[in-house]
């Protein structure tokens, strides 16, 4: 029983770590793409002192992606921090052979408290991920416009290779950004179910304590 619970704890921590790493990668790419759209247009604007409508759009899109990516990166790092604290606590108990029923309960309490505390962060990450998905989608459409324009001028396909790969990367990122909320949703469903059971358990615990505090 204790082994099963410990394995379940370990699996869940590993999955959460995996999810946090996916988030770090996506947020880093969003940051890079934000900088890619923001910086050259900003520099061109500053040096030529002429404003084009599409440049303004790209600056806004890039700036938005850049700012959102930074917040996303910070939230992902916070998730990793919580995860590593719990993982090292579990590993230490395993190493010292102290992973008894009480230690497991302690870890469950810590995980429950961590979820309670990070629930708003998770919601924020889901929102950010969806926004980033939309931004990547827009970037893919813009890049696709470039590819189509290139094709219309009868340019050879290889000349458009960079634009085509840009479309592919943006589409892949948009897909990843819409998949991440699905996994966070799964994680939240599991933990919300546990929190609901905790609320029921509190009735029993209240009785054991004598009366309502």
């Amino acid at each position: 029983m204790a082994t099963t619970t410990a394995q379940k704890l370990q699996h869940e921590l590993n999955s959460l770590l995996g999810l946090s790493i996916i988030n770090i990668v996506c947020s880093a790419l969003a940051l890079a793409f934000g900088a890619y759209f923001l910086m050259p247009n900003l520099i061109s604007l500053a040096t030529t002192l002429t404003i084009e409508l599409n440049q303004i759009g790209l600056i806004i899109l890039g700036g938005l992606a850049f700012a959102i990516a930074i917040r996303w990166l910070i939230s992902s790092a916070e998730m990793i921090e919580v995860n590593s604290t719990l993982t090292s606590s579990l590993s230490e108990h395993k190493k010292n052979n102290t992973l008894n029923d009480e230690a497991l309960t302690g870890l469950i309490v810590d995980m429950t408290a961590a979820y309670r505390e990070n629930k708003p962060t998770l919601k924020l990450m889901v929102t950010i991920s969806r926004i980033a998905g939309v931004c990547f989608g827009i970037a893919a459409v813009l890049a696709l416009g470039g590819v189509i324009a290139g094709a219309l001028t009868n340019a050879p396909l290889w000349a458009n290779a960079a634009q085509i790969s840009n479309v592919a990367i943006n589409l892949a990122m948009a897909a990843a950004c819409f998949i991440i909320p699905h996994f966070f949703g799964k994680y939240s469903t599991v933990w919300d179910q546990r929190l609901a059971q905790t609320a029921k358990a509190e009735v029993e615990l209240q009785k054991a304590l004598g009366e309502a505090q």
């Binding site: 009480e102 302690g106 408290a113 615990l205």
Partner: protein, 89 residues
């Protein structure tokens, strides 16, 4: 971390299986002294904790009544974790 007072009580009571000072309890359970004092007063009032004298120091020790609460808490929290589906990527 956001813990319910039932979770904090459990942490205090398991920690106080061996007699502990007020300072060590609030440090270990990550409580501020005001909240810590309120919780400890409640647990003493309910006879879950008793004061013991040790070398001129007043320490707190959990009682047999506390063991019942600890056992119930362990059982309940293990069940809530074991009976729910596992999160996997």
């Amino acid at each position: 971390m956001k813990r319910t007072h039932y979770e904090i009580f459990w942490e205090i009571l398991t920690f106080c299986r061996t007699p502990r000072s007020f300072t060590s309890i609030i440090n270990r359970c990550n409580l501020n002294s005001k909240i810590g004092q309120t919780h400890l007063d409640f647990l003493k009032q309910r006879h879950f904790l008793v004061e013991v004298e040790n070398g001129g120091m007043t320490l707190l020790k959990s009682t047999a009544q506390a063991s019942e609460y600890i056992a119930l808490f362990n059982k309940t929290y293990r069940r809530l974790f074991d009976d729910t589906p596992e999160f996997r990527l």
